[in-house]
């Protein structure tokens, strides 16, 4: 490929990236919600050298994200308005993960997939306003699935999947799908590696009985608001339901390629969440690449819901005071 074409492609990529970044920063003008409030608290705690799991009950993920937030908090203090610096760094990182994820699917589905994902109004909302880091975990998760598919009996893919879980446990039940399709003992044992990585990632932060209990309660036994009132609200309601649904679908997609089954997994995983909130709306987007029309319909309904219902935009009062 001539250097002129490479330069042109690079220029297009940079333009696309900065357009996406602009849209995400722009939507952050709407303010922020509970989650970003938590990122600020966590950033403060890490930058002060405190143990996040002990100091707040609200953080229920692995350690990588809070280490990133701590770093961003420290960097932001060099700026006059550290709030904006911190938020910009968060949005920039998440936009990079959105972009990489979109490039990954571009390789398999073509330019429509890149556009569908990176410029999707739902993803712009969850990244820019909600500052949700799902795509960071999904990117590493998908990278892991591609690696596992290529090298089924090499450890590197499984370690990557463990890294994805340590960021956010979206692919928590995917190792079950790998177990369902194991052909030998080695593959079976390797399928357990992501769980081992995930659990080991907490060890550096367990320095007392108190932190052990905090991690257990805040991460593993975290109670969430349920969508359906007929379900009993105990800590394990959500994981048990997801487990049952995904176990069944694991058998349905047994013969599907690992990467493809990962995309279906994201669809089914979101569908089986009984504690759904708007922040989860961007998780299944990649799965919709198999059903673009359905993806359009989903985006239509979700985008209108987000921009009208969530922000409660009513024009009852025509005057400011």
């Amino acid at each position: 490929m001539s250097s002129r074409i490479v330069k042109k492609k690079l220029l297009i990529l940079i333009t696309l990236f900065f357009t996406g970044l602009f849209l995400r920063v722009y939507i952050s003008n709407l303010g922020y919600n509970f989650d970003f409030g938590l990122w600020q608290i966590v950033g403060d705690l890490v930058s002060q050298g405190k143990n996040v799991y002990r100091e707040t009950t609200r953080y229920s993920y692995g350690s990588i994200w809070f280490l990133i937030l701590g770093l961003f908090k420290k960097i932001s203090l060099f700026f006059e308005n550290d709030y904006f610096a911190f938020r910009f760094l968060v949005i920039l990182t998440l936009t990079i993960s959105n972009f990489l994820m979109s490039l990954l699917v571009y390789r398999f589905f073509g330019s429509f997939a890149f556009f569908f994902i990176f410029f999707n109004p739902i993803l712009i909302y969850t990244t820019g306003f909600h500052n949700q880091f799902d795509t960071l975990a999904i990117f590493f998760g998908l990278l892991a699935l591609i690696t596992i598919e290529k090298k089924r009996e090499k450890l590197v893919g499984y370690l990557l999947l463990g890294l994805s879980l340590t960021i956010k446990h979206i692919f928590l039940f995917f190792p079950l799908w790998l177990i369902i399709r194991t052909k030998n003992k080695k593959q079976f044992l390797y399928s357990l590696v992501p769980y081992l990585v995930f659990i080991c990632s907490f060890l550096p932060f367990v320095n007392s009985k108190e932190t052990y209990v905090a991690i257990l309660n805040n991460v593993f036994l975290n109670k969430r608001d349920l969508l359906y009132p007929f379900l009993k609200n105990i800590s394990l309601t959500t994981p048990i339901i997801i487990f049952i649904v995904l176990w069944i679908f694991g058998w349905v997609f047994k013969k599907e390629k690992i990467f493809h089954s990962g995309l279906y997994y994201l669809l089914i995983f979101t569908g089986s969440l009984v504690n759904s909130g708007v922040l989860y709306l961007s998780i299944p987007l990649i799965g919709f690449l198999f059903f673009p029309l359905l993806g359009l319909f989903y985006t239509l309904v979700a985008a209108f819901y987000l921009y009208f219902h969530v922000f409660n935009l009513k024009f009852n009062s025509y005057y400011l005071f």
Partner: protein
């Protein structure tokens, strides 16, 4: 299988068209209301400024307990009547927080003269915008000392109650028609109106809906051209 997938595709296409028609109808209604809103607020001028222009960095402490006084020089430049909105925010509260009926009282002084006083329930501070206080912008306040005194009945070990830097503070003025006859004033008026229409929450939402339609059109074009290339 081919027949079934065709049937499902048709069904989804139908749902998509119905959804688009309904959403577009809603969008048209929203557009009308949006422009009506701007028309009715034409003589209200909202100016957004960085909170750092009003408060020094050291005032943005991550936590403070019962009382806090913020003292500084008024930076009010305009000779109009209006309000300053200041967002306060609190976080990481226990579950029974709302039952305690905590309140915050705010007093606004200019050169030690009390200009404004109000009490607000603190529970509002848990919402995404925090507690937004309205302070009077008075022409007498120009370049004079101001003092904002905040008092609350929270327990003294209260954490994470802070001045919100997430929103710019706003100055809102009511403009008279004759003021617009001045060229310089008119230019500034237009400048602030454009900025407002770009930044206002309702505008962001409206522009994002517009963006959705643009995204949809471009997506369909790419999908169609991809099909042609594949053929």
């Amino acid at each position: 299988m081919g027949f079934l997938s065709k049937l499902i595709n048709r069904l989804i296409s139908f749902l998509l068209v119905v959804g688009l028609v309904f959403s577009f109808k809603f969008f048209i209604k929203y557009t009308k209301e949006y422009f009506f809103y701007f028309k009715n607020n034409f003589y209200f001028l909202t100016i957004y400024k960085s909170p750092l222009k009003l408060f020094k960095k050291e005032n943005f402490e991550t936590s403070f307990d019962r009382n806090k006084t913020i003292i500084g020089n008024s930076i009010i430049k305009e000779n109009n009547l209006g309000l300053i909105y200041i967002p306060y925010f609190l976080d990481n509260q226990p579950e029974d927080f709302f039952e305690k009926n905590y309140q915050i009282e705010v007093k606004f002084f200019i050169n030690d003269r009390l200009y404004h006083k109000e009490k607000r329930p603190i529970g509002n501070g848990l919402t995404e915008n925090g507690i937004i206080f309205g302070m009077p912008v008075l022409k007498e306040g120009k370049n004079k000392n101001y003092k904002i005194v905040l008092k609350n009945n929270l327990p003294t070990n209260q954490k994470y109650f802070y001045l919100g830097k997430h929103l710019p503070y706003q100055e809102i003025y009511f403009i008279e028609k004759k003021q617009l006859l001045s060229f310089n004033f008119f230019i500034n008026f237009v400048k602030y109106k454009i900025w407002f229409s770009f930044y206002d929450k309702k505008s962001v939402s409206y522009l994002m809906i517009l963006y959705f339609y643009l995204w949809l059109i471009i997506f369909l074009i790419i999908k169609k051209s991809n099909k042609k290339i594949n053929k």
